[in-house]
Symmetry: C2
Subunit: 192 residues, 2 copies
């Protein structure tokens, strides 16, 4: 225990999944890389994304009550990062770098190049201070047959998403499959 | 576009980070594997975890207003999964399988075997229906020197956390580093 050290309150979860969050602005669709996103409920299916209030994307989500979370693949790493270095507030037309399509919702722009896109309506917005937490209800999950496994589920090895670590600010590939959830624990022998 | 298919509302984020969420119950400390967790704000530093209301852990968090999110490593995969197959509500003493320690908070039990542990006070609880979203304010980040890189930050290659995919319910290793965030995009050439 004596070797334990406290790094203070700026701790992160390891690793964080990279997404492109899409929203409609007055200037058109816009996309912003977000790693602070995850599912939060099974049914109704909801996710939550923490996003700094001053971003152009936040204003679009607030206006229309809809947004997307699209999962880019490794080949889109530079483009995804570029989307984070540029802002619609400074005139960047990020949508011009993608083929944008629509699913069930009018104002949740989706990225055709992304292997998986979730479109959401806003269930609730939680004001956190500098950030707001958008809790979205998932309305549709768009992919292509070539990204599915034999069971019809998205296959992460075919999708090749990537992850972020902070505060070292690195991107990481997904590695090997190492077990089955709600199953691997059956072989664990509790110590007395 | 014609090849796009809609899998419906049960879409997930790929991949999701595995944590052990700790809380104090009347019976003692308890730990539950949670993959639906992420940071949501930089300052004050906050994270959010979506957890089914009927879990024993939720009651402990509600009672004390404190909890932890500890990141297990690959060697703890079976034990972590076992924690999800068993419940304190059915008499399981999961804390007996770990060396439990305390940081700054009285009621955020931490796992000594985990390479990184975040301890949190509850900032807000959002009722989502079947689940509640615990928004925690990070009070401390516990690790050991051997898990840090040369810059003093946690090193994911030394920590060896693992991730979950749903609905296929598989665990995954972290793969190779493939880029630097807020940097890789500088070499992207926008198409006109």
């Amino acid at each position: 225990m004596s070797s334990r050290i406290d790094l203070g309150p700026q701790g992160f979860i390891y690793p964080m999944p990279m997404t492109l969050v899409g929203a409609d602005l007055p200037s058109g669709p816009n996309f912003m890389p977000i790693a602070w996103v995850n599912r939060v409920q099974f049914n109704p299916p909801r996710l939550a994304a923490g996003m700094g209030k001053t971003h152009a994307t936040n204003a679009g989500i607030r206006e229309h009550g809809e947004f997307s979370a699209c999962i880019p693949d490794e080949s889109m790493l530079e483009l995804t990062d570029w989307c984070g270095l540029n802002s619609a507030l400074r005139g960047a037309d990020k949508a011009s770098q993608f083929e944008v399509f629509r699913g069930r919702l009018a104002h949740a722009p989706l990225v055709s190049e992304c292997p998986l896109c979730l479109e959401c309506t806003v269930h609730k917005v939680v004001d956190l201070g500098s950030h707001e937490l958008f809790i979205g209800e998932i309305a549709g999950t768009w992919t292509e047959q070539r990204y599915l496994d034999d069971g019809g589920n998205p296959d992460i090895e075919k999708m090749r998403p990537f992850m972020l670590t902070m505060p070292d600010n690195r991107y990481w590939r997904v590695g090997a499959q190492i077990g089955r959830a709600w199953a691997a624990g059956r072989s664990y022998e509790p110590r007395p």
